[in-house]
């Protein structure tokens, strides 16, 4: 399963996130994601989700390391310019 920006992902506990932007650091993908409610409306919960590949499964984990977030933010800012 590939995660791509512009997609909605459903997690094992039925939580859904919309993927807004993808940054890549050291071949690792980090998605700017917003949690969605049951009507696919964005909530005020934003996270940076790190993509993890494990055997045949795709997992996501919230990234909280500020140094990594800083690097990721630089990329998001550049990509956000394209959305203007």
């Amino acid at each position: 399963m590939i995660l791509e920006e512009g997609n909605i992902i459903t997690l094992e506990d039925d939580l859904e996130y919309g993927l807004l932007l993808e940054a890549i650091i050291d071949d690792q993908s980090y998605f700017l994601a917003v949690k969605l409610d049951e009507n696919e409306q964005a909530t005020d919960v934003f996270k940076v989700l790190k993509e993890i590949k494990e055997d045949d499964d795709t997992l996501v984990e919230e990234e909280t390391d500020p140094l990594i977030l800083n690097k990721v933010l630089e990329q998001y800012k550049i990509l956000a310019e394209d959305e203007e």
């Binding site: 459903t10 094992e12 993927l19 890549i24 696919e40 409306q41 499964d57 390391d65 933010l73």
Partner: protein, 580 residues
């Protein structure tokens, strides 16, 4: 006691044999006929005793050798055959055998009553017994012409081996059951039931403490496995129906939220450099708050709530750093920090932050994370390095010429990049696109018109897009390979799927027609509403007849139709979501 019973028969056999020797000796020197009869009787008695001992030993060996991994029926059959043979034995020996069979079933054969031994103890005991058995071979008394360790040692060794083997088989079978339940291969339920029967049977033959050891073993294994498991599994993905405007707003809010998180997290890491930190924190926070407020007026109710919540959080952070009150005035919709309106405060904070940062000479790597001012400009990484290099170059006139040239080149490359990105988002990855983007990447790397900063930005964006294109093509190729392989493996009589291209063509042509009608005649000319669009979306996503590339192309067409419909209806943006 068991040993003394069979030993009586062995002793009896020895005596009979000795007597026979005497009789044979005496017969040779005597003409009396009664020695013949005596000899005959003795031989018969010897054979009988021999037979008893042989049967007894054979039965005991078979009981010791019973494999507890066998099915219950097989074990019952073995026990039945043992019981059948046992009827040829005298009652005292039969009773010993009965006792052994009972203990086998109850698992109380080894060890003294009430004493519990760990698995490690049994392993050690086995080593000791094996040593004794090896040593005793050379010192055991001769019986029947055979050298062997004492029967007690042999018996104990067999019992220890039985316990160790049963323990290991139990662990192996429990693990097999867990694996089957996780992987669920065809017919796994029958196998699970069979293994569970064996497990239950084996559990009855082991001491309770060993069963507890096994339970503890699996608990530990599970807890360690849980620790290793990271993250949440993604069960599914689907296309998100966002307009570009909606996406832009959410990205803006999202980046602001992450900036806040970084500041909070970094503050926890850095206790020192208070003045510079506070200054840059305040500036960054104020910048974020201004940005959020600017977005607020153009956003839908849902986003407004999100933005306001964000500002409230930022405001409280601001208060804790500056010690000044951050207030939102509901009537005017204006934030004030310590009485100063937000925008003015932000401007002052930026100036103060720059001044403070200039004063700081020793800044740790993590302190740099906070940066100086603005949203996401956080002072480290390739772009800042490029910025620094730029700062140190030539004089002003030359610099401004080069900057202008670079900006022009950047614009051109960026336009091409945006066109490629749009194509990729709408139509998916193609080999031609991949070739083009690789060429562009090389061109950018070598283009001397670009300055370091512009080159770095372009390389980053183009590189990222290139990676996504290649990744999608690789996935599609893998999927096709596995599809072709499964097709080749199918028997020829099996029903095959309809022709994929035809279905794709049909749907694509239909969507193209709708698009054209929307362009030329407007939404009134097409019989399609948002519900139909959603249904179509689901149909395409769930179709087994379409490849990923075909699905992506169709969804891109559908997305264009959706945008045109939304634009024509001129609604206030909802944030994605299905139309009701």
């Amino acid at each position: 006691m068991n040993n003394s019973v069979i030993e009586r028969y062995e002793n009896k056999l020895n005596e009979l044999q000795n007597k026979l020797q005497e009789v044979i000796y005496n017969r040779n020197f005597s003409q009396l006929g009664h020695y013949d009869l005596l000899e005959e009787n003795l031989k018969e008695e010897i054979n009988k005793t021999n037979r008893i001992i042989t049967i007894y030993n054979s039965i005991m060996s078979r009981i010791d050798g019973i494999d507890t991994n066998l099915e219950q029926d097989d074990i019952d059959r073995l026990i039945d055959s043992i019981n059948f043979e046992k009827r040829n034995l005298p009652s005292d020996l039969a009773s010993v055998i009965d006792d052994k069979l009972t203990k086998l079933k109850e698992g109380k054969d080894f060890g003294s009553a009430g004493e519990e031994h760990s698995y490690q103890w049994y392993l050690q005991k086995r080593e000791e017994l094996q040593k004794i058995a090896r040593d005793s071979i050379s010192t055991m008394r001769l019986g029947m012409g055979l050298n062997r360790p004492s029967e007690e040692i042999e018996r104990q060794l067999k019992e220890v081996n039985r316990i160790i083997n049963t323990y290991n088989n139990l662990i192996m079978n429990i693990r097999k059951v867990k694996h089957l339940k996780e992987t669920k291969p065809d017919g796994y339920e029958d196998e699970v039931n069979r293994l569970n029967e064996i497990i239950e049977r084996d559990k009855k033959t082991l001491p309770k403490n060993l069963l507890e050891e096994i339970e503890e073993y699996f608990k530990k294994e599970e807890s360690e496995s849980k620790k290793k498991k990271k993250g949440h599994k993604v069960e599914g993905t689907r296309k998100w129906n966002l307009t570009p405007k909606q996406k832009k707003i959410l990205i803006g809010v999202g980046i602001a939220a992450v900036v806040t998180a970084v500041i909070v997290a970094t503050q926890a890491l850095i206790p020192a450099i208070v003045a510079a930190q506070h200054a840059s924190n305040v500036s960054a926070l104020a910048g974020s708050m201004v940005h959020n407020s600017a977005l607020w007026h153009t956003s839908s109710a849902g986003v407004q709530t999100a933005l306001h919540t964000l500002n409230v959080n930022l405001g409280s952070l601001m208060s804790s750093i500056t010690g000044q009150e951050a207030l939102f005035h509901g009537a005017t919709g204006v934030w004030t920090i310590g009485g100063t309106e937000l925008s003015a405060f932000a401007a002052n904070a930026a100036t103060a932050a720059q001044a403070a940062a200039a004063k700081v000479t020793a800044i740790s790597a993590t302190a740099k994370v906070l940066g100086i001012a603005g949203l996401g400009s956080l002072g480290t990484g390739i772009f800042s390095v490029a910025k620094d290099k730029l700062k140190n170059k030539e004089n002003k006139t030359e610099k401004s010429k080069k900057t202008e040239m670079s900006a022009h080149a950047y614009e051109e490359y960026n336009e091409t990049y945006l066109r490629m990105k749009k194509f990729f988002e709408e139509k998916g990855a193609t080999i031609a696109l991949e070739d083009d983007i690789y060429d562009m990447y090389d061109e950018i790397s070598d283009d001397e018109k670009l300055n370091e900063l512009d080159r770095a930005k372009l390389i980053f964006k183009v590189g990222l897009l290139r990676r996504k294109i290649t990744r999608q093509l690789d996935e599609e190729s893998k999927r096709k390979q596995s599809h072709n392989k499964s097709k080749a493996d199918q028997p020829s009589s099996q029903h095959t799927l309809p022709n994929e291209n035809k279905i794709y063509q049909k749907i694509y042509n239909y969507l193209e027609q709708i698009n054209e009608k929307l362009d030329t005649l407007g939404p009134e000319a097409v019989d399609i509403d948002s519900k139909k669009l959603t249904d179509f979306n689901d149909l395409i996503l769930n179709s087994k007849e379409l490849t990923t590339e075909e699905k992506n192309r169709l969804l891109a067409e559908l997305s264009v139709i959706s945008e045109k419909m939304a634009k024509a209806e001129s609604e206030e943006p909802n944030l994605g979501g299905r139309s009701k």
